[in-house]
């Protein structure tokens, strides 16, 4: 299994298996997304059909009142601008154009009540920066421990001084 025979074939085989697994996952995910999209469209166009049903939606905020915000729901690549929804329980600054992921449900008055919200804020940005720092450190660390051998197949070899 780990021998030197048929190495290109083994590597190519691994690659093909990965592509097949990815394709399978893509097909499954696509079907799941289509169902979710259909549900979101139905719920946004007639919220009373989805009362108390948990939904995850992405919205773009519009006008705000004292207790409610208006928002356009994203379905696929576009926002359903012709069917804005009323949202309760949204926190943060009351400005238009915020893109927020929401978990919640519609009540009997067709108001979407937020249970949880998420948006790209400074925490997410910090996480990306910390992750990039981690990636850089790993590459540096790995380069300190291993080097490329002079052989044409370029296997990695451990550095002798470490």
């Amino acid at each position: 299994m780990f021998s030197d025979t048929l190495v290109p074939l083994k590597v190519l085989g691994s690659l093909i298996i990965l592509i097949l697994l990815g394709t399978y996952s893509h097909q499954y995910g696509k079907t799941k997304d289509e169902k979710a999209l259909k549900l979101i469209r139905t719920c946004v166009t007639s919220p009373t059909t989805c009362t108390d049903q948990p939904l995850v939606i992405r919205i773009r905020t519009g006008d705000w009142s004292k207790t409610l915000a208006m928002g356009e729901v994203k379905a696929g690549k576009n926002y359903l601008s012709e069917h804005p929804i009323k949202i309760a329980g949204l926190t943060g600054r009351k400005s238009a154009g915020r893109i927020i992921d929401l978990l919640g449900s519609f009540d009997r008055n067709s108001v979407f009540t937020t249970v949880r919200q998420r948006e790209d804020d400074w925490v997410q940005a910090t996480k990306y920066i910390v992750s990039l720092a981690g990636l850089g450190l790993c590459l540096w660390f790995f380069a300190r421990l291993y080097s490329l051998s002079p052989g044409w197949r370029l296997p990695l070899i451990a550095r002798q001084d470490v």
Binding site: F2, S3, D4, V7, K10, V11, S14, L15, I17, L18, L21, G22, T23, Y24, S25, H26, Y28, G29, K30, D33, P54, V56, K77, D101, L103, R116, R118, V123, T126, K127, V130, S131, L132, A133, G134, L135, L137, C138, F141, F142, L145, Y146, S149, L154, P155, L156, I157, A158, R159, V162
Partner: protein, 156 residues
Amino acid sequence: MPDLLTHAASGYLAGRCFYSDHRVGLVVFGSILPDLMTRVPGIILQRFLELPVAHFFAAFHTPTSLAVSCYGFSFLFAKPQRRLSFILMFSGSLLHFVLDLMQKQFYEPIYMPWFPLSLQAVQWSWFHIHASLLVAPILLIAVLWLWRKANETSNR
């Protein structure tokens, strides 16, 4: 996912329980491999180029795909180290996967431990998705201290 620094540091600390030489590097590489295979192409292709590839790359963040990937990567090493390289990289990957399972996602679980046999996703909801940012500095200090200690020992 916890941030990559937390994953790498946890891989280093786990690796140091068994080795203090170059083999630790394999566990560290394994511990960042799932995100290298999934998040990096996902962020570039899905977030910036808006290509619908998230589900395709999500498959690479599963134990089966990680085993296949580690097997492929093991051929970067010479034959005598190949088997051990595979085991250490895969151990690091599994550590990463288990840490990801511990998170509480926004709503539904997203990680599929039994893929492709089952598409059932699992989460244990032990900590918040951003909680790793609080632990990362502590882990980094622990890694730097151990790294310095290992260097001092090898210089003697």
